[in-house]
Amino acid sequence: MKSKIGIIISREYLQRVRKKSFIITTIATPILLLVLMCLPALLMNVNMTSVKEVGVIDPTGKIAEKLVDSPIANFTRLDINPDSLSNEAGFDAFLILPANVIERPVGISLYSRDASTMLLESYITQSLDDIIEQERLEAMDMGNLKSVLKEIEVNSSLHTFKLNDSNEVVNSSSTISYIIGIIMSAVLYFFLLMYGQMVMTSIVEEKSNRVLELIVTSVKPMQIMMGKIIGVGCVAVTQLAVWAFIIIGASMTLLPMIISPEIAGEVTAMGNGTLDFSQASMDIEGLQALSIAGDTGYLIGIFGWLLLFLVGGFLLYAAIYAAIGSAVENVQDGSQLQAFILIPLIIGFFASTTVAANPESGLAFWLSVIPFTAPMVMMTRIPFDIPVGEIILSLAILYASFIVMVWLAGKIYRVGIFMYGKKPTIKDLIRWARY
């Protein structure tokens, strides 16, 4: 009999994994994500190749030479009448400043041969703002004002450390943890919802097109249900594992290739606690993000927990979805009944933002021991290095409640699959569980 469950599992699994849509989403999603992350940097590179030659007509004579050449634009001062601009060759654009631009910075015009770019416009306005500000300061002639301002300029940055149980210092950043926590929670939310519904839909279809009547002659209802849940669960695990593999692989191979050795050195220095942040070429958040993205051990750890909570949460929710699927005859009826699954799922997901803001609060603790919200809430908290004991407690409760839920669902399923012609209520489901 044991091998029969294996036959059911392998059918459920292979039918789904072999689908083109599954293969595409599984491989394309993480690649798309990585591309999106790298896109700004890549685009920057593309833009650098097209430096705009800008001719500047500056009656004040104070501004043009202070415009700094950059990968966006090269500035050349032109001493000509604006009316004869059309004779000047070799320029992409002309910037024309009014004579009183320092006193009244309006009426500045940019003539461009191609469509002007936002990047160029913002670079020019930014530069002009700075230059004019400087000019005005100097015009006030307040002696050392410039150095005073330099002196009082504030650009604080907070580097947070966390003391772990043995009082060692651990790098930690709430912002990065927050982002990772919310992403994990969202991933779980979508996985539980998507794959849970997949179990329900598949049971409803099997029941409504009466294949079930044939299967049930050789396999016990409980085994059919478990086979289905496990089969679909394996699909979910496969998808997550492929994602983890691609992301961790990218972190090990791609990341060292993309970031410059200078930044890599800074990341290492930060890890050792020897980095002087005032000299760093990136802000702390950026360095910490890179540090985490490059920390393979950390990534494996996060995916490991994610996998454990995915499996536990999936089994719990899939059991409920299975019970509902067995009771109804079409997916629409099922959608109505699933409201009471969605509520805890949504609470768990949306509580994540609150929990991420204060991961060690009482609310966070209680939501992580309630099995229905535990997967999402706990995955939000794990990046904050909460005590492992709490994680294990949460997992233990989750897995224990999945066993109870499967047992209950099995009882409902056994009755439900032979019930036709009547739309059941939640009351009916409870009654069937008592048979």
């Binding site: 039918q15 009466r210 009547e213 044939l214 049930v216 002659t217 050789s218």
Partner: protein, 317 residues
């Protein structure tokens, strides 16, 4: 007699209704057995118990000499009344899936499936998806899946509903072929006419109980009621008058052709048919005489009606 299946005092209750009430029956090995009864009588519940899908509340099932276990489903082939296939799955792959659930190895299943597919001339369906097949085509596949593992006991629930006459006949022949090869066959149906000529033994289930069980020939003889149909030519009035003292019933059917009459007669209580024949023969020419055997359908209807009247059951529908 050697029975492949024995059902002893099986009862099954659902929350508000009784599906089976102390049902016992024996299915002789090698027989074609009819499990008859109106819709909702409890036939499907009984079949589900035999297939180990649901457990009875009380009673026991003996299959092939031992108490029924879960492993026995490998020796039973069951074609449910309501059946379907996975629409998106390929025919061959799907057939192998079902065969493996019945305990066959993949290789055996494949080999034996190819034989059946050739026999039914449907080999080119192997790689088609089920949704591309017509309903009748899908039913052929289901039939193959049901019998593929060469079960000792075959159970067909309303097997011929949904088949066109040609395919129904093909199916009937295949079933009888399997029967000839040694399988015991149970037909479960409310449509007695469809299996009348096939069954050796029957059980009639009504209102969750076994109300009539036994050999078809015996039951028909018992339910026969001593009726004869006699065909003669001559003066019908004279024949009727002269045989009246010897018969309990003399129903003259409307004449078909000139001078040729048919009558259904029942000899007087305890009386034999011979004196009646002699009397009729003395005043007319007898062309034929034969007992009027009731069809199983007649017996089915009259037994159920009698039972329902006795137990004050109002049949809905």
């Amino acid at each position: 007699m050697d029975n492949i299946l024995e059902v002893y005092h099986v009862s099954k209750h659902f929350s508000s209704k009784t599906a089976l009430d102390d049902v016992s029956l024996n299915v002789p090995r090698g027989s074609v057995y009819g499990l008859l009864g109106p819709n909702g009588a409890g036939k499907t519940t009984l079949i589900r118990i035999i297939n180990y899908i649901t457990a009875p509340d009380s009673g026991k099932i003996i299959f092939d000499g031992h108490e029924l276990t879960a492993d026995d489903v490998a020796s039973i082939g069951y074609l449910p009344e309501e059946r379907g296939l996975y629409k998106k799955m390929k025919v061959g792959e799907q057939a192998i899936f079902f065969a493996r659930l019945k305990g066959m190895t993949k290789r055996d299943a494949e080999q034996s499936l190819h034989q059946w597919f050739e026999k039914f001339e449907i080999s080119d369906w192997w790689n088609k998806k089920v949704e591309e097949l017509s309903k009748g085509m899908a039913q052929k596949v289901q039939f193959i899946v049901t019998v593929l593992h060469r079960p000792k006991l075959l159970i067909f629930d309303e097997p011929f509903s949904g088949f066109d006459p040609i395919n129904a006949n093909l199916l009937k022949n295949e079933i009888m072929e399997l029967h000839k090869q040694g399988s015991t066959v149970i037909f479960s149906t409310h449509n007695m006419a469809s299996v009348d000529a096939l069954c050796d033994e029957i059980t009639l289930i009504n209102d969750s109980r076994n109300i009539l069980s036994g050999n078809v020939a015996e039951i028909r003889r018992r339910e026969w009621g001593n009726r004869y149909s006699i065909q003669f030519s001559g003066d019908a009035g004279e024949v009727m008058r002269r045989s009246a003292p010897l018969t309990d019933r003399f129903d003259l059917l409307p004449a078909e052709t000139d001078g040729l009459h048919t009558a259904v007669i029942v000899p007087a209580a305890g009386g034999a048919i011979r004196p009646v024949i002699q009397e009729i023969n003395s005043c007319s020419d007898i062309l034929s005489i034969q007992p009027v055997m009731p069809t199983m359908e007649d017996i089915f209807i009259s037994t159920v009606n009698t039972y329902n009247a006795k137990h004050n059951i109002n049949v809905e529908q």
